[in-house]
């Protein structure tokens, strides 16, 4: 099993303003790219999964686990957390609307078990989706999910606000790095 990937500040977006589920998933894709986990194309593949299979990625009330198959656009396993200022519908019959989008990138189908176990341990407490959605710092999100900010477990400061993010803007600052 591989170590659990960290959740750096660059992979956390709090209070994003998005118009629809695609923009919400794209926000998670930008966070994965910014944190160095994926190339920017990965966001398109996460959207394509939902277009192909439907909103099954909304796996609990208010929570979407956006992800795609392993691929060349995944540089390393990674996780991103996006909270939405206003919830959006993904089209799930029971679990809409979504307030928290978890972006997941894995490099192969076998090696992400420890990672998923950590997520399950956190989200098996049904109050955690609400707590994450109300979080005001990346550090608070990490604490709720039991994740570190870097591979060596370090912690750092400022959280990242989504600002005027929305439709359209593609490149995260670290895109294509």
């Amino acid at each position: 099993m591989t170590p659990i990937p960290p959740l750096p500040d660059t992979a956390v977006v709090l209070g994003a303003r998005v118009d629809d589920w695609r923009a919400a998933v794209r926000e998670a894709g930008r966070a994965l790219t910014r944190s160095g986990s994926t190339r920017s194309e990965y966001a398109d593949r996460m959207i394509a999964v939902i277009e192909e299979f439907g909103a099954y990625v909304v796996i609990a009330p208010g929570l979407a686990l956006a992800h795609a198959r392993p691929g060349a656009d995944v540089k390393s396993e990674g996780l991103a957390i996006v909270t939405l200022a206003e919830p959006v519908a993904f089209g799930h019959p029971h679990n809409d609307p979504v307030r928290v989008v978890v972006g997941l990138a894995v490099s192969n189908a076998e090696d992400h078990v420890a990672f998923v176990a950590r997520l399950a341990n956190a989200f098996n407490d049904h109050r955690v989706v609400g707590r994450v959605s109300r979080s005001t710092s990346a550090a608070e999100v990490r604490e709720l999910l039991g994740l570190a900010s870097s591979a060596d477990g370090g912690a750092d400061g400022a959280d990242r606000r989504a600002g005027a993010a929305g439709e359209g803007g593609v490149a995260g600052s670290a895109a294509g790095a």
Binding site: Y56, A60, H112
Partner: protein, 94 residues
């Protein structure tokens, strides 16, 4: 007894479902082997399974993919609700 957890791409969501199905089985005191599969491989993966766990969103596609399988398809609404999964497995297997 075999159980297959199915999602669209076979990583992430099916792994969470598999893990929480194992927790549910523990809670029920039932022994079963739980595997994860993507939709494309479900027919093979579920050939000798008794139960297929999946999202209500995918249930129709799973049903079409497995055809005349004996496996019962159980739709899970909340993948993190071990009680829901336990209750549904108990109703199916108990």
């Amino acid at each position: 007894m075999r159980i297959v957890a199915v999602c669209g791409v076979g990583v992430g969501t099916s792994a969470i479902l598999k893990m929480n199905a194992e927790r549910a089985l523990d809670r029920l005191g039932l022994a079963a082997e739980v595997s994860a599969s993507d939709l494309g491989n479900v027919a093979g993966a579920a050939a000798d399974a008794q139960v297929i766990l999946t999202s209500s969103e995918l249930a129709g596609a799973v049903r079409a993919a497995v055809g005349r399988s004996f496996a019962e398809i159980i739709e899970v609404g909340n993948y993190f609700d071990v009680e829901e999964i336990s209750a549904k497995l108990e109703a199916s297997l108990g």
